[in-house]
């Protein structure tokens, strides 16, 4: 096994990890702000992928020239982002919000319910068989030589994920909304008492998490090239795991956790075997959580005054 092979696996792992991270952000942001594990998030992204597939057909992108293709991909990301963001806000408004003061299990079980409803919508939308998502980008190696492969679609992942993450971290750090989001996540009552419309901030958080998921759904289609109505479950589970591994509620944690999971998955399937991947990922997760229950970048609960 050569160094090159190892580096190649790392590259694959990091690219996959970036995609996982984008989904993990949706889990961690919603958890951070209302303490809910939104089990429907993976299936929301599946619906985003269904929309992306329908739009590719409707816009005739599979037969378009390169310029139109890139423009079309940009449009897909915006439209699927808006779609998933809006749908996420609607679910919060009609399902989770009425349960805001109910015992924690009620919204959790409702989230599982929403996940099943989404899955049925997906089944109705694209059918039960896996659908292939058209290759819109040429598979040309962008790196010199033949030792390492890095194609247009790998680049696409980086080109989309990196600015979204930078944008998100700026939004949370410096904007008025970001400050309000951090305040609500630390103490919603105190936040209301300084004049923050807590419901609006929660809705905004659902929108942003959903938007990132919608963007992820487009990249997923273009990168993995197969979508199906059940894709939400496994992908959601890995992303959720990434969020917990990084420290649920922590935005850098979700990104870091996503990259770690992506790397571990790639290395495990290359060196041990595809079918052991799940077991290895979760064994590592368990070991890490035993020693750091708060996750890699999470806050120790004792810090909470």
């Amino acid at each position: 096994m050569s160094v090159q092979f190892f580096l190649q696996q790392c590259l694959i792992g990091l690219t996959n990890g970036a995609l996982i991270a984008l989904v993990a952000l949706g889990y961690t942001m919603v958890y951070g702000i209302i303490g809910l594990i939104n089990f429907a998030h993976g299936d929301l992204i599946m619906l985003g992928a269904c929309l992306a597939l329908s739009l590719v057909a409707a816009l005739g992108l599979a037969a378009a020239g390169p310029a139109t293709t890139w423009l079309g991909i940009g449009l897909l990301i915006v439209l699927c982002g808006l779609f998933c963001g809006t749908l996420n806000v609607a679910v919060d408004r009609f399902v989770y919000k009425p349960l805001r003061n109910a015992p924690k299990l009620a919204p959790l079980v409702s989230a599982i319910g929403v996940s099943f409803i989404f899955m049925n919508v997906g089944l109705f939308w694209i059918g039960s068989a896996d659908r292939s998502f058209p290759e819109l980008l040429p598979s040309i190696n962008l790196l010199p030589g033949n030792s390492l492969q890095f194609n247009w679609k790998d680049l696409l992942v980086v080109l989309v994920v990196a600015p979204l993450m930078v944008g998100l971290s700026l939004l949370v750090r410096v904007t008025r909304l970001g400050k309000a989001m951090r305040a609500v996540s630390q103490d919603p009552t105190a936040a209301a008492l300084v004049g923050i419309d807590v419901d609006q901030v929660i809705a905004a958080t659902f929108f942003i998490g959903g938007f990132l998921g919608g963007a992820a759904s487009v990249i997923y289609g273009l990168y993995i090239n197969t979508i199906g109505f059940q894709m939400g479950f496994q992908n959601g589970l890995y992303a959720f795991t990434a969020a917990v591994l990084g420290g649920i509620g922590s935005i850098p944690g979700a990104v870091f956790g996503g990259l770690v999971i992506g790397l571990v998955r790639a290395l495990a399937s290359a060196y041990v075997g595809e079918r052991w991947t799940g077991a290895i990922v979760f064994a590592i997760l368990i070991v890490i959580l035993v020693f750091r229950p708060e996750g890699l970048l999470g806050r120790r609960t004792s810090e909470k005054v």
Binding site: K179, A183, Q186, T189, L193, V194, I196, R299
Partner: protein, 237 residues
Amino acid sequence: MPMLEVQELEAGYGPIQALNAVSLEVREGELIAIIGANGAGKTSLLMAISGIISARRGQVLFCGRSITGLKPHAIVRLGIGHSPEGRRIFPRLTVRENLELGGFTQRDAWQLKRDIAEVCELFPVLGTRMNQLGGTLSGGEQQMLAVARALVGRPTLLLLDEPSLGLAPLVVAKLFSVIAGLTARGIAVVLVEQNARAALKLAARGYVLEAGRITLSGSGQELASDNRVREAYLGEG
């Protein structure tokens, strides 16, 4: 017309009735004290005025207008500041961010800077701690931050819930001198205190709350010399 009028207010938590037909009023620029034992309903009263818990009956008027049923953020925007019991500053935000959030309703960034600077003159220690996380401040500093945060929003009425709780006597004296000065700035204050002696000394008027009901009211002096108050809340008699 009084600035704040609470009329026959009832509120509670599930089967618990925390407030029973509570009526009181606060005039413009006036400092009133609310005293009462633990569990009497003082915090619930302030939370009901701010809209955090909803009224089951009765109403709250602010400047003649009913604010019953408004969402908390809307009530804050009308000019009612609230420094809640237990400080509840944002522990993982810096002092500066805490203060900026206090002025969340102020959209003019320069004005917000001036408002923060002004509040830091009242509490100079905060000015030296601007980049420190709220949670790392001492108890006294956190309490000052909690009051300062409410003041940055330029309230015309300030609700203060047990600002002296758990603080050293020297710090309490400092805090109370600031509170006493608020009325001179035209800010009306509702001061909820277990430290009844200090509160009644500052207050123009006071109310005694017992098991969710107002049982006594009068000027600060009258209450401080009332035998029942002296026995129950001033540890005399």
